[in-house]
Symmetry: C2
Subunit: 192 residues, 2 copies
């Protein structure tokens, strides 16, 4: 194995995976830098080399999922037809949830992660859900659509992150969640 | 106003309403008996007259909602036809969620309430969700039904407790959540 930068990158990746596992087990607030160092079998100084605070680790753990979701929302907003906006958002949202199941589960069960992120992101969850619901519901404030969209978004996130479906492979789970979402949002069951 | 037992009962009711409000604002773990006493304008001794520990208060706050949900599940289990079981459970679940919106919101956002209840209830949420999903999905382990039922239960609970619908009256919200649930579970839109 090569030494130098590649190994540092490898340590960072392992550190983030270990942190996510510990956050899931003990909550963000119940996890210390020392616990992360112990689980990795390194010194606390080695953790400090990569991150100065626990909040920085939380940000780095959450960043890929939040960035992907932000991109999906931006792309969907730029589409002209309403149906296309909804389809793009729903597909991208389901993709992101399935790809980042462990992170999604953490967001659904531990308010500590939102608190840790609040310092740098202005409540990303809040912002994202307002923008997502805006695209799914559209201009009219139709209560039926609003309730259906809310159930779809919250339900897909919770079901996608649930241990009940941990054994289901990504493609299958994606297909099932998409099907449920399309039904709720009144979209054709298969987009051609 | 009459003094004596009626007033004690009144204090208990006010105490539970105040506790639920403080739990919602500060989390269960961030709320102390002293804070509850201060908010009520009584001494800590007056709180101790009704409850010895914060966990006892949490139990009393959660009890009406959990008891109602338990009854609905028991009633549904006793019905013979599968469609009738699903309809009864769905209607009763939506009723309970709408009637106890603030409690449902607390369960969705604060793991502290489940931790506080774990002492006396063996994880009521877990048990209830296993029994609810069992009734909604039935014997066959059809993944499509399982995902739809999971999205329905989680989505109805989160949407029902969401501040977004705080201004919607009980009857209207109940009707909308039922409609969404029936669509997801493949039940007729109106039960005659």
């Amino acid at each position: 194995m090569a030494a130098g930068p590649a190994t540092q990158e490898d340590t960072r990746t392992r550190l983030l995976a270990t942190a996510l596992r510990l956050f899931t087990e003990h909550g963000v607030e119940g996890t210390s830098l020392q616990m992360i160092a112990d689980a990795l079998g390194v010194t606390k100084a080695a953790v400090y080399y990569h991150f100065k605070t626990k909040d920085e680790i939380v940000e780095a753990v959450a960043e890929p999922g939040l960035r992907e979701l932000g991109q999906v929302i931006d792309e969907a907003s730029r589409l002209r037809r309403r149906g296309a906006r909804i389809d793009h958002l729903l597909t991208g949202f389901v993709d992101t949830v399935v790809r980042h199941r462990a992170l999604v589960a953490l967001f659904s069960s531990d308010p500590g992660i939102a608190r840790a992120l609040a310092r740098t992101w202005t409540s990303p969850e809040e912002n994202f859900s307002v923008r997502i619901l805006g695209i799914l519901v559209g201009e009219e404030s139709d209560l039926n659509r609003m309730v259906a969209a809310h159930v779809a978004v919250a339900g897909i996130a919770l079901a996608g992150g649930s241990p009940q479906f941990a054994g289901v492979d990504d493609d299958t789970l994606r297909e099932q969640l998409l099907d449920v979402g399309r039904r709720l949002l009144g979209r054709p069951r298969r987009v051609s």
